[in-house]
């Protein structure tokens, strides 16, 4: 009996293994259905569901084309590996950041300046892309832009008796104090996910430091320690009005807490909204511009290109790639994207009307925006390391002035270390 059982198990094993192997050969072989397969690579994870929906529509309209979406969490590393492999994905949805700059400098991207869809985009946003490199041409077409600011819970503001959103730094801090006195957590910071520190840092820096600073810093004519005292002090002031465990809270947890109405404000960008709305569709939230200066007229919204489409030179079916990009950039599809992602379109005539970003839409439409300063930092400078360390120091009750001095010194030493390679 035992022997028969063993034989049956062995046979079953062989059959399963054979089936698995055969199925691997079938699916990994060349595409037999005659369809053109396009890879769409996205560096964001928040918008995957929207892409899937749009792709479905696209495939219906173009039955001979199949689109494969991939949006891994560590997109930057995956793209860098692809660069090393010389096998970039056909279409890439990237942000206007250092990952894109690396792609561009590898000369693996097509110039899209003459495509019809490129001309539909707003010149200001095209300029944001072209300012990232020195060559002529448009190597990615801007699609959606983000807007940083403060996401707030309207009900909690009302509960604390705050009727208008703050217009100056002092008002912001006064409101935070008021909220705290009513037992409401003013800010939820999520520094366990280190990138969220940059959302705060960027908004303060862009409104306090002129953009010419980076040129001086690269030439060692100035330092963080000499110029960023105020910035660091404001950054730390936000942490002092954050929930007690701001260093151990993750981005996801912050979204859950915000959706549950546990906190009043989150300093981040519009891209965070689709992460918490599914948890509470009735949430009464809005955004306002983060007021850094005490002169309301000086304050600007920190905004940049959130999604831009690039096409790889190595792609073997450029016309299909172009078709996909053109489809995604059709006004009605861009509207769907905007609506679901609460983003602002780089396409002429596509408006954002959601009440969840109403408090910031005007400023964006007026063009009262300023770019992210960290896009100009050397790629090897990991500013989040400085900022999380500063946050940790504050949590460990280090004296404010010591912390500011130490952290800025830290930033300078990292900048110098990162800058060596750039020369």
């Amino acid at each position: 009996m035992k022997k028969i059982f063993k034989i049956i198990v062995a046979l079953a094993g062989v059959v399963i293994l054979a089936a698995v192997t055969i199925s691997m050969f079938i699916t990994s072989g060349p595409n037999t259905s005659g369809k053109t397969v396009i890879q769409l690579f996205s560096t964001k994870t928040e918008n995957a569901a929207t892409y899937k929906e749009l792709i479905k529509k696209f495939e219906k309209a173009n039955p001979t084309i199949k689109v494969q979406l991939s949006s891994p969490s560590n997109a930057a590393t995956v793209l860098k590996t692809d660069l090393a492999k010389n096998t970039l994905p056909d279409v890439m949805a990237v942000g206007g950041d250092t990952t894109f700059t690396s792609l561009q400098s590898s000369e693996g991207l097509r110039n899209l300046a003459n495509e019809s869809y490129a001309k539909k985009t707003l010149p200001a946003y095209r300029k944001m892309i072209t300012s990232l490199y020195s060559q002529k041409g448009l190597y990615a077409v801007p699609y959606a832009t983000n807007a940083s600011g403060i996401i707030y819970n309207k009900d909690l503001f009302k509960k604390a008796g705050i009727s208008t959103t703050p217009k100056t730094w002092n008002e912001l801090i006064a409101d935070a104090k008021l909220l705290k006195s009513k037992g409401i957590v003013p800010f939820e910071s999520a520094y366990k996910d280190t990138w969220t520190t940059m959302a705060v840092w960027n908004q303060i820096t862009s409104n306090s430091i002129p953009s010419s600073w980076i040129t001086k810093r690269l030439k060692n004519q100035t330092t963080f320690a000499a110029s960023h005292q105020q910035v660091m002090s404001k950054f730390l002031e936000i942490t002092s009005y954050s929930q007690s465990d701001y260093m151990g809270t993750s981005y996801n947890q912050a979204n859950i807490d915000f959706a549950k109405g546990k906190v009043a404000m989150i300093v981040n960008g519009n891209y965070e909204i689709p992460a918490f709305t599914p948890l509470n569709s009735k949430i009464n939230s809005d955004m306002f511009m983060m007021p850094i200066s005490n002169n309301p007229a000086d304050n600007k919204v920190t905004s940049g290109v959130d999604v831009a489409f690039a096409i790889a030179k190595v792609s073997t079916h450029v016309s299909a790639d172009n078709k996909l990009v053109a489809f995604l950039m059709e006004n009605k599809n861009a509207e769907i994207y905007n609506k679901e992602q609460f983003s602002f379109s780089a396409i002429k005539g596509v408006k954002q009307t959601s009440p969840l970003v109403a408090g910031i839409t005007d400023q964006v439409n007026k063009g009262n925006v300023i770019n992210y300063p960290d896009h100009y930092y050397p790629a090897a400078l990991d500013m989040t390391q400085v900022l999380t360390q500063a946050g940790l120091n504050a949590a460990n009750h280090m004296a404010l002035n010591t912390n500011i001095a130490k952290s800025l010194k830290h930033a300078d030493s990292l900048f110098n270390a990162a800058n060596v390679q750039e020369k």
């Binding site: 930057a76 590393t77 090393a84 000369e107 366990k192 260093m247 360390q389 949590a395």
Partner: protein
């Protein structure tokens, strides 16, 4: 007489079959492991970014390593972590192995439980413990009013202890199993003989048990140190090296700065240093421990 001759001949000339058994594999290994390794070493003398063009820069990358405080603190953290994890894992694993090989009830079930963590992927274990540290323990802390539990340990200066806990939780299983194999190979006759001589348990452990499991101790120690010096997965799943750079191990630094930061060449130099250190420590251990084993056996 005939037999002796035959044996001597076999000793001198090695049968061709033995070469067939090992040479093709060795060649494949050379092609897919050693060549990339040599290329990595080669790139450590260039300014390659992982893509695009490159130039020779000589030893600049190695010089740069010594001026970079991040690299220094990554080494400090990695050594601290590897030593703590090796000691904890081996001491606890040996204790559990001693317990599991003694006369206990539900022996097989308990063995099965203790080996379980080894079966689980580090990535997912990291995700699960992220939740335990980030949500469960803080709410327990609030419930019990224990201040130190209320904050996520991964967001404090003690974040490395959180990673250490997860590493020990997972690492115990394998080491325990190896020690158990060793302990079960110890013949009960020896113990009976010892009990007749009236030896204390402590002496018995050091004089009989430990020498007999020494080879297993060697394997465990070498593998632990090597593995923990290259610690990567659990850190990526839990802290990505933060807060600050307090949990940035050498491997994490190489990954983060080498890829995302486009410092591939500099981090290649760093990786070569890591290789030299790991190899040196491991060979030293093997030498010392093997010598000690020989001494014991003689």
């Amino acid at each position: 007489m005939f037999r002796r001759n035959n044996m001597r001949q076999a000793k001198k000339k090695i049968n061709f079959t033995y070469y067939v058994m090992v040479v093709p594999m060795a060649l494949l290994f050379f092609a897919f492991h050693t060549i990339p390794f040599l290329r990595g070493v080669f790139y450590s003398f260039t300014d390659w970014k992982g893509f695009g063009s490159w130039h020779f820069v000589g030893l600049r990358n190695y010089g740069y390593m010594f001026t970079n405080s991040n690299i220094g603190s990554a080494y400090a953290f990695t050594f601290k972590f590897a030593i703590a994890a090796t000691i904890l894992v081996n001491v606890i694993a040996l204790l559990i192995a001693l317990g599991l090989t003694s006369k206990i009830k539900f022996q097989n079930t308990l063995k099965a439980i203790y080996f379980l963590p080894y079966m689980l992927g580090t990535l997912i274990v990291g995700f699960i413990f992220n939740f335990v540290f980030g949500n469960m323990l803080p709410s327990l802390g609030k419930f019990l009013h224990w201040g130190f539990l209320e904050t996520n340990i991964l967001g404090t200066s003690h974040a490395w202890i959180g990673i250490l806990i997860v590493t020990v939780w997972q690492g115990l299983a394998f080491n325990t199993l190896i020690y158990m194999s060793g302990l079960q190979s110890v013949s009960p006759d020896l113990y009976e003989a010892a009990s007749l001589d009236g030896v204390t348990p402590w002496q018995k452990f050091w004089k009989i048990t430990f020498p007999l499991i020494a080879p297993f101790f060697t394997i465990n120690l070498v593998l632990s140190v090597k593995g923990y010096l290259m610690v990567f997965d659990q850190i990526m799943a839990m802290t990505s090296g933060g807060p600050g750079n307090s949990t940035t191990s050498i491997s994490v630094l190489i990954y983060n700065q080498g890829f995302q930061g486009s410092q591939f060449a500099i981090q290649s130099a760093n990786a070569v240093m890591l290789f030299i250190i790991v190899a040196a420590i491991s060979l030293f251990q093997l030498n010392v421990l093997n010598k000690r084993e020989d001494r014991i056996e003689n």
